[in-house]
Structure formats: C-alpha cells, structure tokens
Symmetry: C2
Subunit: 207 residues, 2 copies
C-alpha cells in the first residue's frame, strides 16, 4: 500500500500524513524504490490512533509524539501506561518540577485508603493540586477528601478489574487513553448532574 491508498483508507489527507511523518508520529514506510514506499496495517492502526488521540482525547502533536516515541522505543508497559495517564489526565501541568511534594491532606488520603505509600506522578500531582487549591482559597476539608477518595477507590476497583491489556502497543495506548479520557469525562458529567440535581432539590425545598 502506498501513501495515497493509506490516505484513502484512513481518511487522512496525504498532506497530513506527510506532516505526521515529518513530526515522527508515523514511522516511515518501507522504501521499495526511490519513488515508492510500502505502508502496512501497522500504519493504518497508527494513523487511527493519532486521529483518536487528537480528536477524541484532545492531545496535541507534541504529547502524541512523546507517547508514540516511548512506544516505539520499547518502553515497559507499566511505564507507558503511567505516561498515558499523566498525559491524558493532565498530570503534567503542575508541580512536577519541584520533585516529590507532600501535603498533610495528601498523606492522609493515602493512609485512609490504605494505598501503597510510594511516590508517583499521580501522587505528586495530587499534592501540588491540593497546595494550589489552598493558595487560591478554596477549602478542602478532610471530610470532603475522604468522601472523594472513598468514591474513587470504589471506582478504581471496579475499573481495574474490567481491564484487559491488548497485545498490540497501538491498541494498548488506544484503549488506555480513550478509556481514561472517557471515564474521566463521565465522572465530571455525572458530578455535574448530581450537583444540578441537589441544587434543584434545595431550591425546591427553599421555595
């Protein structure tokens, strides 16, 4: 299959494919001759992955590139999944440059839920976020944090047991990224609905 056919099969314009090749998101095809290159199913699934990561998950080119380069470099799966999580849930934005951060509240969460007490990106990001909320004057009571963490603990339990890791790396990133993004959004939307519902209830009671 050559570039034009790859374009037709994936619905991505030839110009964009060339762009992705330049950016290193898409590995080059097997160069048959000077003016002919052969692309395979791997390129199709890779392009679909790129499209989904852009349009559904909303990552930018640099983020996609970094993820894909890790995959191509044969980074271990657990590490890769951690990177996907960081990128998709936006754990990279705050406080990662300050090394490990601790907050009393963050430590408390870990203790209460009996989660393993090891530093991680997720934990640093949480602690940085708690510090940010503190600094912006948004109170986070221990009760609230307890309710939150109890909830997500239950969710994670259900969530992780329903996960089976696929063989193909493209597929792995796809399911992990899409899953994390969609579940994250789902929770946000449910929270919005719950919030709105409670607000209506309260409004009705007061009226």
């Amino acid at each position: 299959m050559q570039l034009k056919e790859l374009s037709e099969r994936t619905g991505v314009s030839p110009a964009s494919i060339k762009f992705y090749l330049r950016e290193g998101l898409l590995p080059p095809g097997r160069s048959v001759r000077a003016t002919r290159a052969e692309y395979g199913e791997l390129h199709v699934s890779r392009l679909e992955l790129i499209q989904t990561l852009r349009r559904v998950v909303g990552l930018n080119i640099a983020q996609i590139g970094s993820l894909l380069r890790m995959a191509d470099d044969g980074v271990p799966r657990l590490e890769l999944l951690a990177a996907v999580q960081r990128t998709v849930l936006g754990l990279d934005d705050v406080g990662r440059e300050h090394g490990d951060v601790r907050t009393p509240a963050g430590d408390a969460v870990v203790r209460f839920r009996n989660w393993p007490d090891v530093p991680s990106d997720a934990r640093n990001s949480l602690n940085a976020h708690l510090a940010l909320m503190e600094s912006l004057g948004v109170p986070v009571t221990d009760d609230l944090l307890d309710a939150y963490s109890l909830a997500v603990d239950a969710i994670a339990t259900v969530n992780i047991s329903a996960t089976t890791a696929p063989e193909d790396v493209n597929q792995l990133i796809m399911t992990a990224a899409v899953g994390m993004h969609l579940h994250g959004q789902l929770i946000l939307k449910l929270l919005a609905l719950a919030h709105a519902s409670h607000a209506i209830r309260r409004y009705e009671t007061e009226a």
Copy 2:
C-alpha cells in the same frame, strides 16, 4: 482611576485591557471627558475574574465573554450558575444541538439515585457522552455507573452544603467557576492516584 492605573493595579497590560474592552469582556469606564475615563473597583474585580477564568480555569475569550454578558444582562443566578457549570465542565461539547436525548443507562442513574427527573444540560450531556462511549466501544456497565453515581451523589451532598453564594456577581462567577474546575481536577487526580495504586497492588500480587 484611569486606564494606566487600572493596568498597574491588576498587572494586566494596557493593550490587553483595551483588547478586553473591544471584546466586550470589560464594560467601558465612565467617560469623564473625551480623553479621560474613570474606572472603579468593579473593573478591578472584573479584570481579576477574567485573568482567573483564563489562566486557572482555562476558558477562552468567547466563553468568558458569553458568561460575563449573561451576568451583565442580569440573568437569574440559577441560570447563570448552570451556564458556568456547562462552560467549566465542558458540557457544551457534545449533543446539545440534538435536543433532549435519553439513554437507558442515563435514565437508570436518575432513577437509582432518586434525582429529580427533569431534562437539563447536565443530563443531556451525560446521555450524549454515554452514547459516545457506546459508539467508541468503551463499555459502561450498570454496575460501574452505579458505583460512579453513588460516589458523585455523596460528593455533591458534601459539596453543596458547603457552598454559600456571595453577593457580588463577579465574586459569584469566580467562586463557582474556580470551585467547579478545581474540584473536577481534584477528582481526576484522585482517580489517577487510586488507579495507579490499585495497579501497583495488582502488579505486586502477580509478581
């Protein structure tokens, strides 16, 4: 206070202030003379609101403008809060143009949680999102949805009782938007940590 002083007090460049004036985000000052305008504390707090909405919450100019215009038009507070919720939690992105949508799962959530059975943006957005997940082949079991909704119900209960609405409209939007955004992010980060913790546990058990 004139433009320059307003700029100095808020740390926003005069050029940006003029830009916000042009875009209608900032109401014009009281024109004392042809070359002199008077700005007040309201402009200061409005500018701070704009800054926070941009840099912390991450809204774009159009979204901020639409929210602020509603506030200036004296839209009722409940409606305004609903708009803030839509904007901050990204409920506008899917399925709002198709009118009211229903999904069996979405209905089930409302019934299980005994939430008021009325159409709302939050509900439409949830249903559209469930449909999207369905179409992308990401399964959402009733069990999972039940765990999610139980969790957010608990959170919303804690959350809403801790909320007191401020007098000033700028302040109202500020606290609502910042609160919703930060709490949403907090949940996402907690979920990430919970997920990572459970993954470590499982990995340790298997190893």
